[in-house]
Subunit: 157 residues, 2 copies
DNA sequence: GCCCCGCTGTTACATTATATCAACCCCTCG
DNA sequence: CGAGGGGTTGATATAATGTAACAGCGGGGC
């Protein structure tokens, strides 16, 4: 489940994800509005990154307001509060699978099936942190995105 | 020099970078055409990432052909052959500062002055490689981009 | 000579993202 | 109660980034 390349009870992913976000919003006084909830659900429904306009299309089909800012605002909120992540390599977004823990996410992106798995890599504490420290650079955030082939796509190749 | 946050003889950066690229192209039978050379020079002239359209503007000022594909084609070439890197976080490009060695680049991006330093972080061999290995994921390429404040911007803040 | 291949020049378009402004809701403070 | 403020929404317009496609050119090999 952690890595997303295995099969699993997917309904559970959605339910739990939404529940956790809801709880966090409650305890931190954040507004978990219908748009935000719906966008999170859409993201949770897939273990792959979705572009803002894919999400927008889905909102449209459901009759919700659907100008680009609507999607981007919801996504900004989700990303800002750690309910989702932006995948820079893909200009796309994915639901967080480790909402409970503070973490520096690292992503494994399959170029075959486009699925994305979230791992954690505390590399700001490792070699990179060491190099940065020597240079006097203060790291605030690290993007780690590995591209390659997932087990299934290796097999079919 | 490696980290780019220090002052240094900048003319040297440009000369050496172009010379190395030229040499590599020669030995590998690649065409180091005027556009490609010029774009590399433009990148080497700064220790920050430049957007494709910034480069395009500069080409225009010099009277060169300047439709977007011109810049993107030159950049694709430079990136493909390791003379430059794409910074995903910024949708921008920067000259490589380690052309001599094969490497997995890692970038330190200052959100204050926008300068970018290139370090090397072989993390496909570290924790991340370990996690990927356990999941059966085959890593082909890794993007590592740290965002924060360089020494100078920390001081002025 | 002729073909092939890689580079060029150009048009048009696709995709991704933001600025801006008016309206609204709810809450608080006076 | 009413005024004002903060955050959210709805909508238009536009900016920024990236690509498809095609015609032409030029050198190198057969």
């Amino acid at each position: 489940m952690t890595l997303g390349f295995e099969t699993h009870d997917h309904r559970g992913c959605i339910r739990e994800g939404v529940a956790q976000a809801e709880e966090t919003c409650l305890s931190e006084g954040l507004q978990f509005t219908p748009h935000r909830r719906r966008v999170l659900e859409i993201l949770l429904a897939e273990h792959r990154a979705l572009g803002a306009y894919e999400i927008l299309d889905q909102l449209r089909e459901e009759g919700l307001a659907a100008q680009p800012p609507v999607a981007y605002r919801a996504l900004d909120f989700l990303v800002k509060h750690g309910f989702a992540h932006r995948i820079e390599r893909l200009n796309a977004f994915i639901a967080c699978t480790h909402m409970d823990e503070a973490h520096t996410p690292a992503f494994l992106i399959c170029r075959g099936c486009k699925s994305v798995a979230e791992a954690t890599a505390e590399l700001s504490r490792g070699r990179l942190g060491q190099v940065a420290g020597e240079a006097g650079f203060e790291i605030e955030r690290v993007v780690v995105e590995a591209e390659g082939l997932c087990p299934a796509c290796q097999a079919s190749a």
